[in-house]
Subunit: 343 residues, 2 copies
DNA sequence: TTGTAGGCGTTATCAA
DNA sequence: TTGATAACGCCTACAA
């Protein structure tokens, strides 16, 4: 029997195979296989002998041949769009936790844009991943089409729906409308919106906000494009206030931008929040609850988003989009109020 | 030729194999394999024909048989100890980015404790991962030993060294000493330390801090066990100050604890920082640089930690531990000073 | 309950 | 430069 040359000293010794275990236990390879696959019929005596041999050889079943055989890898790729934003890391936490419960492994992909998602998924498909969960929304038809061509089920969060794409979203538009109500009911009359860059979530929030403002016959808000980071929020607020305008209510595309804006308003301009200006964010990241920012915001229900993603991915065929309602979290950057807010 | 039954309608169609491509291109399977493995000799003519056929069939080489054959998967598991702490997420960001450059995939593991790391790695070894990078330090000999038994190279950050374990660490002890110097030179005489729970990093920071304080003949600091989160830092500061003591300098085990403490000090007690109390953190997470906290802290060089981890993992045999110097970042929670700090 | 044999889709080896 | 053939380690019939 021909054998491979011995591994160089110091190198991790090769993994034992089921054949090796079988030899040591004096049984056939298939018997070893049976012992390690749930619900197969093996006599207690043989099972014990096999397990003993396996332990002795540090045997761990090799998943790869099984995948090769069955076509299912038990691996899901999770895509995030940057670790700077706790929205992504929280989502990642929830998803990996759910996947782990289901004994599925997570392959992590971090990318700044969905533009190259098709390439990344193509690359990952070499590992026969069972699916993709993307916290990054898909924007272009080109990418959506190529992803479909890869033949791997894909769930995207807060994304527009394309073809077979499965989507789970927070109801961003309603939240935008609610934000408008909140500020207007709180007495604001000169509103501003600190926007993100192109993304479905951002567009929807903005749309809901503008629509409700218009419906309630309040003057349209000033619009400043910030981005999604603390620094961009800070800079945008600086720009806004330096221009001489003094809005009394600001809705921000997310919490990082809102916290940046807050710091600029309070520290750079010495204005009071919510006295002079009320501020509303989006996401309810942990820092929004810190005593410093104490930010009023909309909670994105990560558990629901994650559970929805995992569930949709598990389904055989793409089903209807899942929409999760946001939850308003009232904190110290808006005026205390008794009136109930209705969508 | 026997064929498997056709896939159910709607199911993602099966991936094409190199054999299918070979048939279509009119060459042998080995030739297709050569075309897709770098640096193999194939005539331009044949290569073109194969690539055309491959494109037509959406062919992507299946990595699994290759792994089976070569024993190398191109997958590394990265372990983090909770997404609440930007230290972990930043590390994760740097590591995945470096791995991606090297065309290695990241399998993500999130676990609250290193106690079950051996089980997790055992589970992952089924995928024949090439190695493990753990941002979580390894504390117990039992786990270290079992990990060694798995025969997979492992790098741990800020960890004690066990056997074959490869380690990359920030020089936590020196940083602790520097923190003592900084506060004492800044005029502090009644110091306090907000500690984390058992971990090598925490112990080392504390040890360096205490030693330098002792060396400089300043009274030993008060010691409160907080933990590693914002909430725990807040609670610990509350406890410390409610007990009636008024330290004038506090060193915190990490930035989250420090920011929690800051909020308690400023908001709950109305004290001035750095006027009444100076505060020093550790890690230099992004929030430490926000205008609100504006926290003086020690920067952990994530790029260096990540690069060290990836490099150590790539080495054939475990080599010497890598130690990264921390960098003091002076901000607004300590008094401005001109004197240079020397270790 | 256990063993035998074929096949999954690559890489590696050797011959042509 | 190309092709045939043997692994890699498991799962899945099917036979004993």
């Amino acid at each position: 029997m021909s054998r491979s040359p011995p591994p160089p000293a110091g190198a991790p010794r090769a993994h034992a195979s089921s054949t090796a275990v079988a030899r040591l236990a004096g049984v056939s390879q298939s018997t070893v296989s049976r012992v390690f696959s749930a619900g197969a019929a093996v006599s207690a005596d043989v099972r014990e002998r096999v397990l003993k041999a396996a332990a002795e050889l540090h045997y761990k079943p090799n998943a790869l041949p099984a995948i090769l055989q069955t076509g299912r890898s038990g691996i899901v790729a999770v895509v995030v769009g940057g670790f700077y934003n706790p929205f992504f890391t929280e989502f990642l936490r929830c998803v990996t936790s759910l996947l782990r419960e289901r004994r599925i492994e997570t392959m992590l992909v971090d990318t700044s844009s969905d533009d190259n998602l098709d390439d990344i998924v193509g690359e990952l498909s070499r590992y026969r991943i069972d699916g993709v969960i993307s916290a990054l929304a898909i924007r272009s038809t080109r990418v959506a089409r190529k992803l479909e061509g890869a033949g791997i089920p894909i769930v995207a969060v807060n994304s527009k729906k394309f073809g077979n794409l499965r989507t789970v979203s927070t109801d961003n538009r309603s939240a935008g409308a609610l934000a408008a109500d909140l500020l207007i009911d709180g007495g604001c009359r000169t509103l501003a919106y600190l926007a993100g860059r192109e993304s479905t979530a951002q567009t929807e929030r903005q749309r809901g906000f503008l629509k409700r403002i218009n419906d309630r016959q309040v003057a349209p808000p000033q619009h400043v494009v910030a981005g999604f980071s603390y620094e961009e929020g800070y800079a945008a607020a600086l720009e806004l206030l330096s221009s001489g305008s003094r809005p009394d209510g600001i809705f921000c595309v997310n919490d990082l931008v809102a916290i940046g804006a807050l710091d600029a308003i309070r520290i750079e301009f010495g204005l009071s929040v919510p006295g002079d200006i009320q501020v509303v964010g989006f996401d309810d990241i942990p820092m929004a609850g810190w005593r410093g920012p104490d930010l009023t915001t909309f909670h994105q229900d990560m558990d629901a988003l994650a559970l929805g993603s995992v569930t949709l991915l598990a389904e055989a065929a793409p089903s209807r989009p899942i929409v999760i309602p946001p939850r308003l979290v009232l904190r110290g950057t808006t005026r205390p109020r008794d009136v109930a807010v209705t969508p």
